[in-house]
């Protein structure tokens, strides 16, 4: 049997609170991450992602304390990320009870970080987060929350990152994020068939069919969304029933 396709709500965290904004601006507070995490687990989420969106050095300990509170409460796996740049950051978060950590800009700037993390902690807990945008040159990697173009094609960086030790890829289309017009289907399909590790599609979820599309045409192993879950527009149980009715393998 293939694995169940995973539904992953994402919690953006700022100052210990869940927030939501479009393209990292106009942030609104949604509520307590621990309560929200527990609610999503109860509703059938397969996994969660918590992102420390400010990712300041001073905020690191506060975030780790929150990760520990979530780990105590949550009976499903969760990934944490945001500004991780050194093995010590990863050690702290795994010790706090996170199952996986995602690395983004720091890994791009210093790709050996991925191999170091994989050998220290095992590749199964190292997620490569890649933010990409479609421009004249095609799908290109962006850094710093999608603000800084790198000139590097998405597929090149994903292949290198997996080769170096990433055990999973969290692929966010900044061109789709916040639009609610659906995921980047072709891109996701291209990336998913190019690597032998799971790919989480992110950015653009607006309705139930978008999830079916990204699992079927997009060949995603998991789909991540935030606002459609936070707002209650897409209840997770309803989404899972919808996907099951389309013969998509769902827990």
């Amino acid at each position: 049997m293939p694995l169940a396709k995973r539904i992953i709500p994402c919690l953006d965290i700022k100052d210990g609170q869940t927030v939501k904004g479009v393209n990292f601006v106009d942030l609104k507070t949604i509520g307590d991450p621990v309560e929200l995490a527990a609610r999503y687990a109860e509703e059938g989420a397969d996994e969660l992602v918590l992102l420390d969106i400010m990712a300041t050095h001073e905020g690191r300990k506060t975030f780790a304390a929150l990760v520990k509170r979530v780990a105590k409460e949550l009976n499903i796996p969760f990934t944490v990320g945001g500004g991780i740049s050194a093995p010590a950051d990863v050690g702290l978060l795994l010790e706090a009870g996170a199952d996986k950590v995602s690395v983004n800009s720091a890994a791009f700037r210093s790709p050996s970080l991925l191999s170091d993390l994989a050998s220290l902690f095992g590749r199964q807990c190292i997620v490569l987060a890649v933010d990409v945008r479609l421009d004249e040159q095609g799908w290109q990697v962006y850094l710093n929350g999608g603000r800084m173009p790198t000139g590097k094609p998405c597929i090149d960086w994903v292949l290198e990152g997996v080769e170096r030790g990433a055990g999973e890829v969290l692929l966010t289309s900044m061109s789709h994020d916040g639009t609610r017009d659906g995921f980047a289907i072709e891109l996701t399909s291209q990336v998913s068939s190019a690597v032998n590790v799971p790919v989480i599609a992110s950015g653009g979820a607006g309705n139930l069919q978008h999830f079916a599309d990204v699992f079927q045409a997009g060949q995603a192993d998991a789909a991540l969304a935030a606002s459609v879950f936070h707002s209650g527009e897409i209840p997770i149980q309803q989404l899972k029933t919808f996907l099951r009715n389309q013969s998509i393998h769902i827990r």
């Binding site: 409460e73 199964q124 799971p198």
Partner: protein, 200 residues
């Protein structure tokens, strides 16, 4: 559900493999305070022993041997539960690092070979459930897996999962149990399996 039995004295074996924290937290959610220890005395005196682990087989076996934990583990007679790498180390042999393991279960561990993605990372179902470890657990219930190596099927198999090939999702011999999945991360069904183990 909360277990209120102060007589339960649970030891989690500390060694050079991660994932101990989430087992501790899962037990706390069941109302159980466990101790994390590599002390032979504390492990021997425990009512139940849990042997978790996410890591690499050969370095884990080397670590256990250096501390005499390999001989201690096979001598134990109280209920004993290996999780993930812990279960694999209880088998005869692992292809990972060409490692001779503890030999409790008559099973060999080998790398998944096939078209599908490796590691198997995510939710899969367990079936052909045997022993009271699975009391109250439905056939084909979902559990969370993260692994690249898997134990083959044999006389000690008490649960089967299919990913690329059918493999032992759980093994049992005498007082020894092992599960490939992570009950501490598998929602209500996982919590029930941990609870069943504590009730053994």
């Amino acid at each position: 559900m909360t277990i209120n039995e102060p007589s339960k004295n649970i030891a989690i074996i500390q060694y050079n493999a991660g994932n101990i924290r989430s087992v501790l937290f899962a037990l706390e959610r069941l109302g159980i305070q466990a101790m994390v220890t590599d002390s032979h005395e504390q492990i021997k005196e425990a009512s139940h022993v849990i042997f978790p682990g996410v890591g690499e087989a050969s370095s884990a076996m080397t670590y256990l041997k250096e501390r005499g934990l390999d001989k201690l583990i096979i001598s134990l007679r109280q209920p004993f539960l290996g999780i993930c790498l812990g279960m694999q180390l209880m088998c005869k042999y692992s292809e990972e690092g060409d490692t001779r393991c503890l030999g409790i279960f008559d099973a060999n561990v080998s790398l998944f070979k096939g078209e599908q993605k490796v590691p198997q990372m995510g939710w899969n179902t367990i079936s052909n459930l045997k022993t009271s470890l699975f009391n109250g657990i439905d056939e084909n219930s979902w559990q969370y897996f993260v692994h690249s190596y898997a134990a083959d099927l044999g006389e000690h198999t008490i649960a089967i999962t299919d990913y690329i090939v059918p493999f032992s999702a759980a093994l049992h011999r005498d007082n020894f149990y092992g599960v490939q999945f992570h009950p501490e991360k598998s929602g209500e069904a996982g919590a029930r399996i941990l609870e069943n183990f504590i009730q053994l």
